[in-house]
């Protein structure tokens, strides 16, 4: 088996045992990127020399006897929304074209400390706003299963890179589903950790109270290892939780659901759901039962209001978070010809630098926060948020985890929903409640839809700081399916 098809855990073992060098592993992935990324467009920035230099440094650390961790020497693709001092950081926006941060995000720093080799920066919907990666200012990313389809979003570059074997691991951020949905539609594993479990410092903010960094991988254990590598308390992020990282890798190895209580969310299913998605989901529930889990139906009535609440809270926060892009200190500057006022230059720059979806959300948020509308919109949405948290609390008194389809449909064709924001927003219907409540949730592959032969994801939701439960159940499902399928789902993908 070539290096690019190996798991991250295996690559880490090979490098640590000096059976393969970090440089060889990096080179194999650089070769793969050179071979396929022209068709996929997962990466916005790859600089081979710097990648190899990072890999050499890891080999030297290992030669000196250092043991940075189980993923030392393993390549990772990094969503271009994390600050990287040695690479451009654009958030997929024209307004930050060419910007090089003077600092590393905490997640970036921890990847480096753990000896991971950052292959480059991956494409995303501008400022992580979208579900298809079509909102990037730097072109669309293609789903490796079917290049005419979207790879999900906003972390579509990261999901595509891992599912196209360009990287064994990648980072993402999940604000309303931006890790779980791309993972689901590309047939890989994507995890949204508990909010505050992974640091937001250096992550270019979309919606501060929702943004959560998390891992992508081709299997559950690899995702757990990556999450462990970059998680943990960060004094630079006030919302970071000062508690030990849940034992996620241990849970992934445990892969056992016997006696576990599983709740099926009653509100997710029915109209608007693709039959093939529902069929695979129901099979997954049966599978869990067959593995010894106790399955019950659980009602979470407020989940119905999650989507509208989200589309008030997230745009409100984004309208404020994106105010700093004003041409004064960094990034694009338009119209500064010596005759215009600072205010005019700000306006011209923002008009030219932001794409339509970003502008739409800034306007939505500006409106929702306006005097006279605040209580009716933002205030009301916060109340819904509280109700959703209560629904989760009540549910987790009855069950250990909740399950649902990750997305209502499989990957849709590029362009299909580009002009229909409401249709686009529905892609996050099942993922948004966990962002509003801040709890942990993972998507693992559960087969292919009959209609289109495209991957379907199973979402497993656990309480705040119950990340290990997501991995434990996810790994059990993965193990059962792999023995049924004779390998990972991704092996069924057409060759590139």
């Amino acid at each position: 088996m070539s290096l690019i098809h190996k798991t991250a855990a295996e690559l880490g073992r090979l490098v640590a045992a000096r059976e393969a060098s970090a440089v060889e592993v990096a080179q194999a992935h650089l070769d793969r990127i050179a071979e396929v990324d022209g068709e996929i467009n997962a990466f916005l920035h790859v600089e081979a020399e710097s990648v190899l230099a990072q890999a050499r440094a890891v080999d030297e650390r290992l030669a000196r006897g250092e043991r940075p961790g189980p993923l030392a020497g393993v390549p990772v693709a990094h969503k271009d929304v994390f600050a990287t001092a040695d690479m451009p950081t654009t958030a997929g926006s024209k307004i930050l074209e060419g910007w090089r941060p003077p600092y590393d995000a905490t997640v970036t720093r921890r990847l480096r400390e753990a000896g991971l080799v950052i292959l480059g920066k991956t494409n995303l919907d501008e400022f992580a706003m979208g579900s298809s990666t079509e909102n990037s200012a730097y072109g669309v990313t293609h789903n490796p299963w079917d290049r005419s389809r979207i790879p999900g979003g906003s972390s579509g570059g990261s999901s595509a890179a891992v599912s196209a074997y360009e990287a064994p691991l990648s980072t993402g951020t999940d604000t309303g589903g931006s890790i779980r949905q791309p993972a689901a539609v590309t047939g890989i594993v994507g995890m949204k950790p508990t909010y505050g479990g992974s640091s937001r410092y250096g992550l270019i903010a979309f919606a501060s109270s929702l943004d959560t960094p998390g891992p992508f991988a081709r299997n559950v254990l690899d995702a757990a290892l990556l999450q462990e590598a970059f998680s943990g308390h960060d004094p630079l992020d006030s919302t970071s939780i000062d508690a030990p990282v849940p034992p996620v890798a241990e849970a992934a190895r445990q892969a056992d659901v016997a006696g576990l209580r599983v709740g099926v969310v009653k509100e997710f299913g029915g109209d608007g759901y693709q039959p093939g998605v529902l069929a695979r989901f129901h099979e997954a529930v049966e599978l869990l039962e067959s593995l010894g889990a106790k399955v019950v139906e659980v009602s979470c009535p407020s989940f119905t209001y999650a989507l509208p609440a989200y589309y008030l809270i997230a745009p409100s926060e984004c309208s404020s978070n994106l105010a700093r892009f004003d041409a004064m200190r960094y990034g694009l500057r338009v119209g500064d010809d010596g005759t215009r006022s600072a205010e005019e230059v700000m306006a011209l720059t923002r008009a030219a630098g932001f794409g339509p979806e970003v502008k739409r959300r800034i306007m939505l948020g500006t409106y929702a926060l306006s005097s006279g509308y605040y209580d009716a919109y933002y205030g009301q949405a916060q109340k819904v948020r509280t109700l959703i948290m209560r629904d989760f609390e009540a549910a987790f008194h009855q069950v250990d985890v909740l399950v649902s389809p990750t997305t209502p449909t499989t990957a849709f064709p590029i362009g299909e929903r580009a002009d229909d924001p409401m249709a686009m927003y529905l892609a996050d219907l099942c993922t948004i409640p966990s962002n509003l409540a801040g709890n942990a949730a993972i998507s693992v592959p559960c087969g292919l839809a009959d209609e289109d032969g495209l991957p379907v994801g199973l979402q497993i939701m656990a309480p705040v700081l119950g990340d290990d439960r997501c991995y434990r159940v996810g790994a059990a499902v993965e193990k059962a399916y792999e023995s049924r399928w004779g390998g990972p789902l991704l092996a069924k993908a057409p060759a590139l």
């Binding site: 941060p101 404020s320 200190r329 605040y374």
Partner: protein
């Protein structure tokens, strides 16, 4: 400025209208680091040298609240008799301006740290209670400099430059409730309030409260209502009030301006006005009627503040003696009248007198020098008493020299003049200028003999029993000794020489 306002004489304005005041005071806290990052807060560093990704609002950076600043704010609230919130949040105040890096200010909105307090101030021997609406914590903005143009303001400038060193310095805003019933003392009450507030800050050690450096800034709200009315008028908010004297002048000027408009049946526009130090008048700034919607919402990057009530109680117990209490105590210790104490307070002399007393001077002497000769000198030089180049130790030394008889008051004034002129310590000035009093009996006796010989008429009158005439002879001795003689001793010796019993 083009919009020179018509004014109504103050007395007439007060006959017809009653002023209502409101004061918003911003105090930069003296914490070592900024409100939400680790950058230094030292004043006067080269532009943009005290900045980092957080206070420059680089993408991805996040704030972390300065606990010391929260503690200082709570202490301020306690000193102002406020209730301290048990749970409150920061909020974002959204508006675009180039000196505000995030284009929102992290502030507090409907959940301030401290609410409902008061501060008693003394004006004309009366105590006026100024009620405090709220005390909240926020961050300062950067500082814009507008280059070119006539006004130094953004309109008409060729270009502007921004220094972000100040961006993110912790700022406490103290807002009064409307202050009514001050009548014609409104300007004095406003000044007394800011003065007292400044002293409270000093006593707490939370800020250097230097108005000229902007670490204490005051916005003055004024409205007028016709006598007999109970409905408040439209208020204006005057900014750029950079000294205690300006606080007083700004209130007075705004009363005169508004009164003239209202008397002619005009309407006061709710607006921000700028105070001009040179004229004592205000000019129109941004109109509040076209004011922005700040779109406040709870700051999601920061956790709520939930001060432990036990901690707050311990902060309260550890508050220092507050200025008004201290003044009462010192007044008793020094045995001075209300009037003298008020005079010292107004002249900002209390700390100086206290330090002089601590350096060994009797309170009466310390007060006499600071409030007399030195106050006069400060006034001449146009500086604050505390900024005179003389220490309380120097003044204590001078009083000691007078008490020991080495100097008389006249010589002592010359010594002070020498110290102020930079000639050295009092001892050095005495030495250099040869100011020691003539206490040598032989030398004094010789001077007296000469004076008696030169003023035979006067001497005869004294001999003849007109003792009052001795004054002229003593004056002659003082003149002949160029002030260095001990006048009392000279009088005794003259009478002795003339054979007259005193």
């Amino acid at each position: 400025m083009a919009d020179t306002a018509t004014l109504m004489p103050y007395d007439e304005a007060l006959e017809r209208f009653e002023p209502v005041l409101g004061l918003e005071t911003h105090v930069e806290l003296g914490t070592g680091s900024k409100m939400f990052c680790g950058c230094s807060t030292t004043f006067g560093a080269p532009p943009n040298t005290q900045v980092c990704p957080v206070c420059l609002a680089l993408p991805g950076s996040l704030p972390v609240a300065n606990e010391k600043a929260i503690e200082s704010t709570i202490r301020i609230g306690l000193a102002l008799n406020c209730s301290i919130a048990t749970w409150c949040r920061f909020a974002r105040k959204n508006y675009f301006y180039p000196d505000m890096p995030k284009n929102y200010q992290i502030s507090q909105y409907d959940e301030p740290l401290c609410t409902d307090g008061y501060l008693d101030v003394e004006v004309d021997g009366k105590i006026v209670r100024v009620e405090i609406e709220r005390v909240h914590l926020e961050e300062d903005t950067g500082k814009s400099t507008h280059v070119g143009g006539a006004t130094g303001r953004i309109h008409g400038a060729d270009y502007s430059i921004v220094d972000y060193n100040r961006a993110g310095i912790p700022l406490v805003e103290i807002v009064t409730k409307p202050i009514t019933g001050t009548d014609r003392l409104a300007p004095e009450v406003a000044k007394a309030y800011v003065t007292e507030l400044r002293e409270v800050m000093r006593s707490l050690g939370v800020s250097d409260v230097r108005m000229e450096q902007g670490s204490l800034r005051c916005d003055v709200n004024v409205s007028l209502m016709p006598r007999g009315s109970t409905e408040w008028g439209t208020r204006t908010e005057t900014k750029n009030v950079n000294s205690l004297r300006s606080v007083e002048r700004a209130v007075r000027g705004e009363i005169e301006r508004q009164a003239a408009i209202l008397a002619e049946g005009g309407r006061i526009v709710q607006e921000t006005r700028h105070f001009h130090e040179d004229t004592g008048q205000t000019t129109s700034g941004r109109s509040k009627e076209e004011a922005q919607d700040y779109r406040y919402f709870p700051e999601p990057d920061l956790l709520p503040i939930a001060p432990d009530p036990e901690w707050v109680a311990s902060l309260k117990a550890a508050l220092p003696e507050l200025p008004s209490v201290r003044r009462k105590r010192l007044q008793q210790e020094w045995g001075v009248s209300d009037l003298d104490m008020a005079a010292m307070h107004n002249a900002d002399a209390i700390d100086l007198v206290e330090a002089t007393v601590a350096a060994g001077a009797p309170a009466g002497d310390a007060r006499k020098w600071w409030m007399g000769e030195l106050a006069r000198r400060a006034n001449e030089a146009g500086t604050a008493l505390a900024d005179l180049p003389i220490t309380p130790g120097d003044v204590a030394k001078v009083t000691e020299l007078v008490a020991s008889g080495a100097l008389n008051d006249k010589l002592a004034r010359q010594v002070l003049e020498g110290v102020l002129a930079g000639e050295g310590t009092p001892d050095e000035v005495v030495e250099k200028r040869g100011l020691r009093i003539v206490s040598d009996e032989g030398e004094l006796s010789a001077i007296i003999d000469q004076v008696l010989a030169d003023n035979a008429d006067a001497a005869d009158k004294v001999r003849g029993g007109k003792i009052a005439a001795v004054g002229a002879l003593v004056g002659g001795v003082m003149k002949a000794s160029r002030g260095k003689a001990d006048a009392g001793r000279a009088r005794e010796l003259i009478l002795e020489k003339l054979g007259v019993q005193p």
